[in-house]
Symmetry: D2
Subunit: 217 residues, 4 copies
C-alpha cells in the first residue's frame, strides 16, 4: 500500500479559506487497493511551511507528494513544471515575512523540475472535461518556496528514493470569485475530481507522454 | 400559479452542446407553490429564433421570460441590461446567415432595457457564492437579436402586460474550456443554481435595489 | 470650411492627466482645405459636461462632433456604437456625484446610435497600423452620459441638421500604465494620428462599409 | 570602451517582421563615452540561434549581452528572471523543429538566473513612463532556449568573466496588434527608449535594488 502525501495551504492574505486546503481536506483517506492519501495542512509562511512538509515526508514515507496551492486569477488547474531558488514576495506571508530576492537554499541549484508526469496529467484532466494546463512558473511566493524546498529535501536527504513530487495550483472557488468581479473560478467538486485524477495518473505513469505543453514566452 | 418561460439556445458555431440549453433543460418543471418553469429550446438563427420565442410567449402566457445564452470567455453569470436594435454577426448563425449592421425592427426604438431587477439578482447570486455581474452589452449576434425581439414583441403586442423579461449569459462549461486553454468556465450545477436564484428574485422583487452595477467604459 | 468639434475630458478619479484631453489639445487647429478642428475640454461631471458640450455645439455649428474619453484597460482605440439612457456610476465623478440607475433624459429614447461611419473608421485605422475596434458599450459613467446627451441634443434641438456625431475611447498612456502592472497602453502620437484619421474618414464617408464589427456577446 | 551585444530575433511563425529585431537594429552603434552597442540578428531556430549567439560573444567580447524577443500578448517590457533547461515548443521554429520536453544542455543545471539588475531596470523604466515588469518565465520556445544557452556558455566557457547577461521580452508593435483584435501593443519608439534605458542601467548598476518584483503564483 503506497502512501500519497497531499498537502494544502492554510488561508492567507486575509482570506477566510483557501480552496487548496478545502480540496485537500476532502481527500483525506482517499484510496484504492494500491494507495491511500494522507492530507496535511501547511502554514502559509516562508521557512516553517518548508520544514513542516519535510517532517511530513519523513513521517509518512510517501510514494508520491503533491502540494496544492491557490492561484487566484488562473482559470484552470495548473501542473507546475519547475521550482526556482528564489523568494520574492509581493505580499507578506502569514508570519509577516516578505523576503525579496533571497535564495531559498544557499547550496541548492537554481531550479528543480517536478517529477510528476505533467503532460499525462494534463491530458487525463482534459479528457475528464476539466480545464488544465502546464504552468512554467509557480511564482516566487510561499508556493514556489515549498515546492523548491520539497524537491531540495528529496534530492539531498533522500537521493536514492524515487518519490514522485510536484505542485498543483488551483483557481479561486466560485464563492471567492463572487467578491472579485472578473475573476474566474472552479467548483470544489471539479477541483477534487481533478486532484483524484492527477494522483492516479502520477502513480500509474512510468513515462510521461510527449505532448506539447510549453509556451512561446 | 405563474408560468416562467425559460428559453435556451441550441448549440452553435460547430459546438456539440450549448451550456445554456443544458442548464435550461434541467430546469423544466422547476416550481414552488407560486410558479412553474417551462423550458424551451431556441434555434441559433436570426429571425426564426425570435419568431419561435414570440410563439412560446403567446402559447404560455408567462409572468416572466428569461432567455439564456452562452458567453464563451466570460467568467461569471451576467445579467444583461440592454438590447440594441442592430444585427452585426461576427460569425454565421446555424442557418448560414451573417447580417451586418441590419436593423432588427424597422419601426422599433434603438434599444430596450431588460425589465428584470438586475441589481437584486446580482446581489442575490453573489450572496449565494455565485460569481455574477451586470453586463452592459449582449453583443450583436443572435442573443441580442432574440433579446431585442422579445422586448419589442412585449412592447408592441402586449403593451399592457407586466411580464418581466430579460437575458442572462453564462460561461463555458468546464468540459468546453478543457479544449480552450485560458478560457474560464462554470460548473453546470452552479449555473442551474444561479438560474433558480435569478427566477426567484425576479418573481419576488417589485423594486430593484440601488446598487452600483455600471462601468466607467 | 467645416468646423470639427473635438471634445476631451479633464482628468478624473484622482489622475493628474487624461490622455483624452492630452490628445484632443494637440489637435486644436488641425485642418486641411475643407475643415478645421476646434478642441474643447469637458469636465468629468454628470450634468455639467453634457450642458457644456451642447453649448459648444451651439457656439461652433460644427459639421462633426467627436468626444474622446479614456478607457483604462482597453488595448485599442474603440469607436462607440451606441449610447444608452442610463447613468450607473461605479465611482464618483469630479463633482462628487454617483448616480445609480438614473435616466439621463426622461423624454429620451432608450439609446442613440452614433452617426459616425464606425466600420470605415476601424478599417482605416487598422490599415494605418493602429489597433482599433468597434465597441458595443460606452459604459454607464460620464462618457456614456455625454455621448447620450450629445445625440439627444442633436435629435431634439437640431433635428434637421446632418451633423455627424460619436464617441471614441482611447487606452491609457504608457506613463499611466507604468504604474498599473498588466495594463495595456498606447503612445500619445499613435492616439493623435488615430484621431486625425478618424476625423478625415468621418468627414469623407457618405456610406459606411459593410464589414463585420460585432460580437457574439 | 565597453561593447554591448544586443541580439534580436528574426521574424517567426509566419510574421513579416519581429519587433525585437526592429528595435535592436535601430540601436546599432548606440553609444556614449563608455560603451557602444553592436546589434546582431538571431535566427528563430533551436540550436543554430544558440550557437550563433555564442559566436557573437566570442567575436565581440562584450561587457553586457542582452537578447530581445517578442512576447505577443504581453502589455509591457518584461525583464526575464530565469532560463530553464528544457525545450517544449508549442509551434514549429523557422527550421521546422518542434522539440518537446528536451533538455537543452545534458550537463547543465536546471536553470540559470539572469545577471542583469532586474529590479533596477524595471524601476528605471517605470520612472521614464514605460510599462515594465519582471517576468518569472521566458517560456519554453526559442527565446528561453537562447537565454539558457547564453548563460550556459558564459558559465562553462567564460567562468571568470563578469559579463552581465539576460533577456528582455517586448510586446507586439501597434501594426501587429491592428490585425489581432484585443492584443496590447507598444510603439517602437517606446521600446527603443526602453532598451536604451535598460542598457544604461545594466552597465551602471553594481548591486540591484531590493524592490518586490515577484508574484504569488
Amino acid at each position: 500500500m503506497k502512501t500519497v502525501l497531499l498537502a494544502g495551504f492554510a488561508p492567507f492574505n486575509g482570506e477566510s479559506l483557501n480552496p487548496a486546503w478545502e480540496a485537500v481536506a476532502m481527500l483525506q483517506g482517499y484510496a484504492d487497493a494500491t494507495f491511500r492519501v494522507e492530507s496535511r495542512q501547511l502554514p502559509c509562511a516562508f521557512g516553517s511551511a518548508r520544514q513542516i512538509l519535510s517532517d511530513f515526508v519523513k513521517e509518512l514515507s510517501p510514494a508520491l507528494v503533491v502540494v496544492v496551492g491557490q492561484a487566484g486569477g488562473r482559470p484552470d488547474i495548473t501542473i507546475e513544471r519547475v521550482a526556482i531558488n528564489v523568494d520574492d514576495a509581493p505580499i507578506k506571508d502569514n508570519a509577516g515575512q516578505q523576503p525579496i530576492d533571497q535564495v531559498i537554499a544557499e547550496d541548492g541549484p537554481a531550479a528543480y523540475f517536478a517529477t510528476l508526469p505533467l503532460k499525462s496529467i494534463v491530458c487525463a484532466l482534459r479528457e475528464l472535461g476539466i480545464p488544465a494546463s502546464v504552468s512554467q512558473s509557480a511564482g516566487t511566493f510561499v508556493c514556489n518556496h515549498v515546492f523548491y524546498g520539497l524537491m531540495h529535501f528529496l534530492a539531498t536527504q533522500m537521493p536514492n528514493s524515487r518519490i514522485g513530487a510536484g505542485f498543483i495550483h488551483i483557481p479561486y472557488l466560485p464563492a471567492q470569485a463572487a467578491n472579485r468581479p472578473g475573476a474566474p473560478s472552479m467548483a470544489l467538486d471539479t477541483v477534487v475530481m481533478g486532484l483524484q485524477c492527477a494522483i492516479q495518473v502520477a502513480l500509474s505513469t512510468s513515462e510521461d507522454r510527449k505532448e506539447a505543453g510549453g509556451t512561446t514566452h
